[in-house]
């Protein structure tokens, strides 16, 4: 009986383009830049393509918001080892702070969003600071509790507009500003983070994930590194929150809702954890899907959950890693 084995081999072009000297032909340059260009050009031209379907422009904005939150989840979970199940916490804080600045202090929108991003991130980092020594399940549970906690506090104390939320945030000057703000910020964060994690400081963060004791023994404060990472992640989350508050011109407890925690996680799982791009791809798939399924009401959450479970159980590597493999390698059957 003949035994067959499947083997995977790197494509020639991949090996050639790995060294910098090999970039001599347009083909190889395209091989390297192609996927990036498709993503960038695709994202930037989306508003034009959707000129015919204005409703879907909104969806693109929401998609980018979820991408940002997913990016922050992916970064924290796969590069620092902090699994934060409370993405909604960042969103809510960002949204509320933007609302406070814009409505109560009447700052203009181009001040309130950046300010809310920074202040929100500082606030989130301070709030999470005590939980940073926790790991694994414990950190996950606490972060899951934070958004719930704030919801209940706002409800119980009836502050910040109580259950009605704060209304009357100013909107974006025009639709293009509204769209390109989020698209460009998302792309900037994506490529910025990809660069960041390969820097030496990114390696130190991965070291914290692999073996925090050894990092301590090297004379690096883990608490500092972790809080830095949380700060970076919450910058993304808070920006998303501030943006969405201005987009809806409203900030309420639904910014702390489960959607902002579960959909980004699902995106990362589906897109492929640890790739950062996967977070975007996952959102690009899930958010429009959820729009299509809007008619089904809460049933779409059921669909997400089923997709999420199936992916986590059967294809835990995620889409991006699968695509990368197909792009860089080919497979063939060989006799053993």
């Amino acid at each position: 009986m003949e035994m067959m084995r499947r083997e995977r081999i790197d494509r020639g072009i991949k090996v050639r383009t790995e060294g910098i000297y090999a970039i001599s032909s347009i083909r190889e340059v395209l091989y390297l830049l192609g996927p990036r260009l498709i993503l960038i050009v695709g994202m930037i031209s989306l508003p034009f393509i959707l000129e015919l379907a204005p409703y879907w422009k909104r969806v693109v904005n929401i998609m980018c918001v979820y991408s940002l939150i997913a990016l922050s989840f992916d970064f924290l979970a796969n590069y620092v080892g902090l699994v934060c199940l409370g993405g909604a916490f960042f969103v809510g804080i960002g949204g509320y702070i933007a609302a406070i600045f814009n409505v109560y202090l009447s700052f203009p929108i181009y001040v309130s969003i950046p300010l809310a991003t920074i202040c929100g991130a500082i606030f989130c980092t301070l709030m999470l600071l005590p939980c940073l020594p926790l790991r694994g399940v414990y950190f996950a549970i606490v972060t899951l509790m934070y958004p719930l906690f704030f919801t209940r506090v706002i409800e119980a104390l009836n502050i910040l507009g109580g259950t009605n939320g704060i209304t009357g945030l100013s909107s974006f000057p025009n639709q293009y500003v509204e769209e390109y703000t989020i698209i460009i910020v998302t792309l900037l964060f994506l490529f910025g983070m990809r660069r960041f994690v390969t820097q030496d400081i990114g390696l130190v963060l991965r070291g914290v994930k692999d073996n925090d004791q050894a990092v301590r023994a090297s004379g690096i404060s883990i608490a500092y590194m972790k809080s830095l990472a949380v700060f970076i992640a919450s910058v993304m989350g808070c920006f998303a929150g501030a943006y969405i508050a201005h987009l809806y011109m409203w900030s309420g407890i639904s910014l702390f809702a489960l959607d902002f925690s579960i959909i980004p996680i699902a995106s990362v799982v589906i897109g492929g954890g640890g790739t950062l791009v996967g977070a975007i791809i996952g959102s690009v798939i899930l958010v429009p899907l959820s729009e299509i399924l809007r008619a089904f009401g809460t049933f779409r959450i059921v669909i997400y959950c089923i997709i999420l479970t199936l992916v986590i159980v059967f294809k835990s590597e995620g889409l991006m890693i699968y695509l990368q493999r197909k792009y860089h390698q080919f497979e063939r059957w060989v006799k053993v």
């Binding site: 979970a77 699994v83 199940l85 005590p130 939980c131 020594p133 926790l134 790991r135 694994g136 399940v137 414990y138 996950a140 549970i141 606490v142 509790m145 719930l148 906690f149 209940r152 506090v153 409800e155 119980a156 004791q213 489960l258 579960i262 996680i265 699902a266 799982v269 089904f296 009401g297 809460t298 049933f299 959450i301 059921v302 997400y304 959950c305 089923i306 999420l308 479970t309 986590i312 159980v313 059967f314 835990s316």
Partner: protein, 289 residues
Amino acid sequence: MEIIVYGIINSITLSLMALGFTLVYSISRLPNFAHGALYITAGYFTWLFINKFAGFPYPFAIIAALALTSIIGALIYRFILIRVRGMEISEIIASYAIGLAILEGLRWGGLRGMTFTLPTFVTGSFNIMGVSVDYQRIIIVGVGIFIFIVLYLFTHFNRIGLALRGIAQDERAAMMLGIDSDMTAIVSLAIGSGLAGFAGVVLLPLGNIIVEVGYNVLIFAIAVCVVGGLGSWGGTIIASFVIGFAQILTEFFLSSHYQMVVALLAIIIILLIKPSGLFGKQKELEERV
């Protein structure tokens, strides 16, 4: 006086909610985030059996519902959790997703509003030391204590129970002695789901069967377990008394809005002071070199 009586009742309610979660975690180290969903499922099944299959007597409906819930728990492990076993985060996400799917599925299927209620076992009420308590709550307390005793006897004197405890203490050693780890995990999940369902059936007659209750139960269960130390039995019971009384006190002096705030605050405070919980057996984190 009212505080003491209602405090005790509330505490036992909480520990009933948490029992299934603790049991599963202590035996198979699985955080079963589908706990709240199973709680609601059991209540819903009971309601179905009583109202849709007319003629089902109440006790029989309960038993059938509990059996079904246990089977669901076992199936969840057999087909899903078994594949992500050992990957903590995947366990949490997967079980949470399942729970969410069940709850939202039920909501979509029409589990809304006030129409879904279970009758109390015995109606009426009587006075304890000047406080009027209805029979259902008395039953809850009785049943709660009964369950503790049964579980204690089961895990200390029964073969399967001992095997479960063995697994809980040292999985590898237990496997070497021929205890099947997957089998015990299935059993533990089945029992844990059964307990979640049991708590549902006993407690739900006091209110409506609504999806939100499922989420709350999950949070309360986690709160109690984390405060008591994940996987610690004594800790669970003591923690439910701590949180139970704290809740009743805040309800008495502030307002009932704060119930959930208290539970969440308890988790956060405990994790910050003593991450392993009040009675957690894990070493303190800084000493885990």
